[in-house]
């Protein structure tokens, strides 16, 4: 009785989310000939393309999370210091850009820095620079494109956290004869660090899970291999080897679980002295 009104939601999400997840774990270990074992996992480990994909996804996640933090943290700080008008403008921009992780984004970047993109032609025509940009399907190219939604994501995530940094702490530090740098070293950075780490973890998780943009920019031959793309491709040629998709999916789920736990821990740490 006490659970009745929630049962439809719980049943629905169980079937649509929990069941598929358990099925993926099952298929990771289930052998084609019956029984359970590590053969599927070993086959993925032995496959050089899969190894490239795993390295590519992890590398992209780390680079993106780091760049998004380095660019997003100062951007968020500047936005909190803005007047109302500028603030509203930047907030809406960040909001839309963080949601704009789709085919359209890939198109915008190809139209800008692709081989016949606007900026490529301008740089080539006016300054005679040949090939100023990497291909959008390369590791570097993907990094350029991904920042478009990851920086805003990081900004939106950390903005509320920045408000924990009270103005009068800065004033109190000044009265104690601390320089601005000393304030950040002793108070500002230690207080904000757990929030930044939490933001880093979320950007990392989301980056390795991106599919639409990756699908679009990786359409060109010779592009960077990624876990999500491998899963998609395997499912499409669904005649054989679905175990491979299961193994890679479980890897992504493990990464998600790990970062979620770390994320919770860092937020808990952030709350410790607030």
């Amino acid at each position: 009785m006490n659970w009745a009104p929630a049962l439809p939601l719980l049943a629905f999400t169980f079937v649509m989310l929990v069941l598929p997840a358990t099925r993926l774990v099952n298929d990771t270990f289930a052998l084609r000939g019956g029984g359970y074992g590590l053969d599927n996992i070993l086959r993925v480990i032995d496959n050089p393309v899969d190894r490239q994909a795993v390295a590519g996804s992890l590398g992209l996640g780390v680079v993106q999370a780091t760049l998004a933090s380095l660019l997003g943290a100062p951007a968020a700080w500047l936005i909190t210091r803005m007047r109302l008008g500028g603030r509203a403008f930047w907030l809406s921009l960040m909001n839309v850009a963080s949601n704009f992780a789709g085919i359209g984004l890939a198109f915008g970047f190809v139209a800008l820095i692709g081989s016949t993109g606007m900026l490529t032609l301008i740089l080539g025509g006016l300054f005679g620079i040949e090939d100023p940009f990497p291909s959008t399907g390369s590791f570097t190219g993907m990094n350029i494109v991904y920042l478009y939604f990851n920086v805003p994501m990081f900004v939106l995530l950390t903005l509320p956290a920045l408000s924990v940094l009270k103005d009068d702490w800065q004033e109190a530090a000044a009265v104690c004869h601390a320089t601005r740098w000393q304030f950040w070293r002793h108070v500002g950075v230690p207080v904000l660090a757990p929030f930044v780490i939490a933001g880093w973890l979320l950007v990392f998780t989301w980056t390795i899970g991106v599919y639409a943009v990756a699908y679009a920019v990786a359409a060109s031959p010779g592009s960077q291999k990624l876990i999500t793309l491998q899963i998609g491709a395997t499912l499409e040629s669904s005649v054989f080897g679905l175990e491979r998709a299961a193994v890679l999916s479980v890897l992504l789920m493990l990464l998600a679980a790990g970062t979620t736990v770390l994320y919770r821990l860092s937020l808990k740490r952030a709350q410790r002295w607030l």
Partner: protein
């Protein structure tokens, strides 16, 4: 030579005047209370001294040195904020040691001074706690210790007790006073609580609308306020608006004082009112009595110069015991304790 001197300091916020030419000086080792209603500019004045707010015109010297253009972090001051502004990630020791650490003092020097300050504010047991593990009163002591640790010349306190409940507030008030005496530091103490201002300070500056109305010893502020605002703000007073005749005002026989204006406000304290069964004075009827412990407040309806007026008197409870509502009494006020201001 006064220790802290402000001369004609003004500050405007977008056309709104927060400080309208304030001049005041604080003597070496003195505790000056800045007393005034909310929004009168107390915090603004304190922040100008600290250098956290830049004033528009005027002059500020500390120890004879002009502070114009001197940044906050070079001023010889310590400050306690209304919200305490303790650094949440540093322990009590870390907070108190912070001003010493940023001055690049040696580790042992910092540690010694921190222990000294912990002892001074009575927190030796709590040195390793984080601010959010302390009570409000303890946080306040840490803020005080942090402000005093680097041995500043001047201590600034912005309503340091206002976030505490009444009992703790009274205890800490006396403790702040004790510590200030012990250290002998020149102090400016902002408050909007008149009892606190009178109890703690050597002198009180009564502020109103961005200006200082009166600056004098607590007893003088209490007994001889020089302006109508100061008289109305400090302590409870009866106020009667009366007409004069021949340069004097007589309140139906209650008192008779000089008054060089045509219409005047007469103010007097309830403890300066006496009620007798008979004798000289204005006629009055007892209305309500309110028992306050040692004293009883008696409200009477008096007839003063032909119009009715409500006056309250604080009598020793034993004397008031014989009065009950409806009794006819004679009301009189010691003329030496009546303040007269133009209406």
């Amino acid at each position: 030579m006064s220790h802290v001197v402000l001369e004609d300091v003004t500050k405007r916020y977008a056309g709104h005047v927060a400080l309208a030419g304030v001049s005041v000086s604080v003597e070496q080792g003195e505790m000056l209370a800045l007393l005034g209603p909310s929004g009168c500019g107390k915090t603004t004045l304190l922040r100008c001294v600290a250098g956290l707010t830049a004033f528009d015109s005027g002059r500020l010297t500390i120890g004879g040195v002009d502070m114009t253009g001197v940044p906050v972090r070079r001023r010889p001051i310590g400050m306690v904020f209304q919200s305490y502004a303790l650094f949440p990630n540093l322990t009590v020791r870390g907070n108190i040691g912070f001003p010493l650490t940023v001055r690049r003092e040696t580790k042992t020097g910092v540690a010694e001074r921190v222990e000294e300050m912990l002892e001074l504010v009575g927190l030796s047991e709590q040195g390793d706690r984080l601010p959010n593990q302390l009570s409000g009163g303890q946080q306040q002591r840490v803020a005080l210790a942090r402000a005093l640790a680097p041995r500043p010349e001047v201590l600034l306190l912005d309503e340091p007790l206002s976030a505490l409940d009444a009992q703790v507030r009274h205890r800490l008030r006396d403790e702040v006073r004790r510590i200030q005496h012990q250290v002998g530091i020149t102090t400016v103490f902002v408050t909007h609580d008149q009892a606190e201002a009178l109890a703690i300070s050597d002198r009180v500056a009564v502020m109103n609308a961005g200006d200082i109305e009166q600056c004098a010893a607590p007893s003088e502020i209490y007994t001889a306020p020089s302006t109508r605002f100061a008289a109305g703000f400090v302590g409870n007073r009866n106020t009667l608006e009366l007409r004069t005749s021949g340069g004097r005002v007589t309140a139906g026989g209650a008192f008779d004082v000089e008054a060089p204006w045509e219409r005047v406000l007469c103010m007097f304290r309830p403890e300066d009112v006496s009620l007798r069964r008979e004798g000289p004075g204005a006629r009055a009827l007892v209305d309500v009595t309110v028992f306050l412990g040692a004293t009883t407040r008696v409200y009477v309806q008096a007839e003063v110069n032909g119009s009715p007026a409500t006056v309250f008197a604080d009598l020793p409870s034993r004397a008031a015991a014989s009065l009950s509502p409806g009794d006819a009494v004679r009301l009189s006020v010691d003329p030496g304790h009546v303040q007269v201001f133009p209406a």
